[in-house]
């Protein structure tokens, strides 16, 4: 496969590589925290893009996989003493399995009905975890400090978690790129354009959509485990915030849905914008309102996102921006 020679892949990769390396080399805790949030947004947005951008199905339930996978991973590492990478993998696999089962059922719905069903799933999952004793109910779970011993202390554990997140983010981007350039990806994009026509042309739509859903659900589970491990606790309110699903949607829209670079640009921009609005004294109280205004302007005037806009307006960039 000549994917390795594509500038679009390398450009995207380099941005993420540089960000992660910057934090790892300087060993700066503040930079690591910022990069952690940014990389997490990049990975969440890119994994959502596999479903949203390629198949055109709007899911408000992306955060369900972050929450449930994160809960499972966190339970395994805090209560059962699993090492973090195994727990993260288990969290991801559980999310993927769940997506497979859900996908078989809810992909019979199209358009807005699908979107509504995903909102319902998010709420049902939150309400379920609230009432599920092994996961600590409404108070959630905490990490026992003894757990940090196997990583050589809490500070070292944070750096390990960060490195794992960095690797996962690169993996999502690679996957996203490979899907886009595969036969499978072409099938997904055909579904996005016209599902009935795609099925007539021989795309096995139900199987392809479910597969896309499974792939897009795996990484939120991994990232959820890492995120909650970094925080040291997990509770239902944090794990299933409908708002975060929508923030992820905004990032994908901002950068450009259906592109590999778009979610990266969108996530980084959104993260910067959000932290600026949150910390500036003028915007502090109104940051949500301004984010809303920004979103509205994008939806109304630049629906293809930054990368999509650049690709349509500058033909030369089409070879470079994926």
């Amino acid at each position: 496969m000549n994917a390795w020679r594509q500038p679009g892949l390398w450009l995207t990769f380099l941005i993420v590589l540089a960000g992660g390396l910057g934090a790892l080399l300087t060993r700066n805790d503040t930079l690591r925290e910022t990069m952690f949030t940014t990389l997490m947004f990049v990975a969440l947005a890119s994994s959502l893009n596999i479903l949203l951008g390629y198949t055109g199905y709007v899911s408000f339930g992306h955060i369900v996989f972050f929450g449930l996978g994160g809960y499972t991973g966190f339970y395994l590492l805090s209560q059962r003493g699993w090492p973090v990478y195994m727990a993260a993998l288990a969290g991801g696999l559980l999310s993927a399995l769940l997506a497979g089962l859900l996908g078989l059922a809810i992909f019979r719905l199209r358009g807005a009905y699908f979107a509504l069903a995903t909102i319902g799933i998010n709420e049902a999952a939150r309400a379920f975890v609230n009432n599920f004793p092994p996961f600590g109910g409404p108070t959630g779970l905490f990490v026992n400090f003894a757990v940090y011993k196997q990583y050589g202390g809490a500070a070292q554990a944070l750096w390990i978690t960060f490195t794992l997140l960095w690797a996962s983010t690169l993996a999502v981007l690679l996957l996203s790129f490979l899907i886009k350039h595969s036969r499978f990806g072409l099938g997904l994009m055909a579904i996005r354009e016209d599902e009935d026509a795609a099925m007539v042309m021989g795309v096995k739509a139900p199987a392809a959509k479910t597969m896309a859903f499974v792939l897009s659900a795996f990484f939120p589970g991994v990232i959820g485990t890492l995120f909650f491990f970094k925080n040291g606790n997990v509770e239902p309110g944090d794990a299933f915030r409908l708002h975060m699903s929508i923030e992820t949607l905004v990032m994908v829209m901002l950068g450009g849905q259906g592109t590999v670079l778009g979610p990266v640009v969108g996530a980084v921009t959104y993260e910067r914008l959000r932290s600026y609005l949150l910390t500036s004294s003028f915007f502090k109280n109104l940051h949500l309102a301004f984010s809303g205004l920004a979103l509205l302007l994008i939806v109304l005037f630049v629906p293809a996102g930054v990368v999509g806009w650049l690709r349509t307006h500058f033909a030369r960039l089409r070879g470079v921006l994926e």
Partner: protein
């Protein structure tokens, strides 16, 4: 036990009427323009706060204040339609979902800055009625009564008046309606305005018996989704019946299960109905 059952049943039923009004607004908008209004919850919250402000600053009876709330709700709906929805009405679902969600963020953002998130309540009581073993709060009875009147008025408006008929025509087939000389942009704005009006009124009614914050609308928005799916999306009268079903369920579930299981049952039901009958239990469209 039977007395308790009866009490929670009537309680749930009366609340169901109010849920129904909120859901009618959402359902009307979906039925006419296939837009899911994600700013529904904050508009309910604005209805609560407007009633609250009028009650405490002007001293107007909350039920009269709700008339003002209805007017403001209608105008606010026109505004939202013109600014956020009109341009994306024919775009893919994602655009209209995100456009209405951006309105949601703006209202919540501004609302949190102005009102903070500390709970408010309207200190207003009409006493209560004792019928056998059941005690009914009069504010809830009034709310149910208002709801029935509103539903009847909406029905008459949609089926007996020219603008109502225009709304139904546009819902049925927009292109054909335009060819018949119906100004579809105005009609869509009117339908959106009516939808937000119903949401605001529902908020006003809820504020007379529950404490609330600017974020409270979210709960009722989610309930409205469940109800719309129960009653069939795009079927406003089905929404009222769906509201009653949900109200009764909310009254009955706590008798058998811990209260915290109510949302699990609700949303599981929601997903199951979507899967078996996406047109709704009562959907005969």
């Amino acid at each position: 036990m039977p007395a308790q059952l009866l009490a929670s049943l009537t309680d749930g039923l009366l609340l169901g009427f109010v849920y129904g009004v909120a859901a009618m607004g959402l359902s009307l908008i979906w039925g006419v323009m296939h837009v899911i209004n994600l700013s529904h919850g904050p508009i309910i919250a604005l209805g609560m706060f407007t009633t609250y402000l009028i009650f405490y600053n002007v001293g107007l009876n909350p039920y009269l204040a709700i008339l003002v709330v209805a007017m403001l709700g209608l105008i606010f709906g026109f505004l939202i339609y013109g600014v956020a929805v009109h341009r994306v009405i024919d775009a893919p679902h994602l655009s209209s979902l995100l456009a209405t969600f951006s309105v949601n963020m703006m209202i919540i953002g501004a609302g949190t800055a102005i009102f903070t998130t500390s709970p408010r309540n309207i200190d207003f009581s009409l006493g209560s009625l004792q019928i056998g073993a059941v005690t009914l709060a009069s504010t809830r009875l009034m709310a149910a009564l208002t709801t029935v009147l509103l539903a009847a008025a909406l029905y008459l408006f949609l089926y007996r008046t020219p603008p109502g008929k225009a709304i139904r025509a546009v819902a049925n087939n927009r292109a054909a309606a335009e060819l018949m000389g119906i100004p579809s942009a105005q009609v869509l704005a009117l339908a959106f305005g009516l939808g937000t009006m119903l949401a605001a009124v529902a908020g006003g009614l809820i504020s007379t018996f529950f404490p609330f914050t600017i974020l409270s609308g979210g709960t009722y928005e989610l309930k409205s989704f469940v109800i719309c799916v129960l009653g069939g999306l795009g079927n406003p009268l089905g929404a009222l019946i769906g509201g009653l079903i949900l109200g009764v369920l909310e009254g009955l579930i706590p008798v058998f299960l811990p209260v915290s299981w109510v949302p699990v049952v609700e949303f599981a039901l929601f997903v199951v109905i979507l899967l078996i009958r996406p047109s709704g239990l009562l959907g005969a469209r």
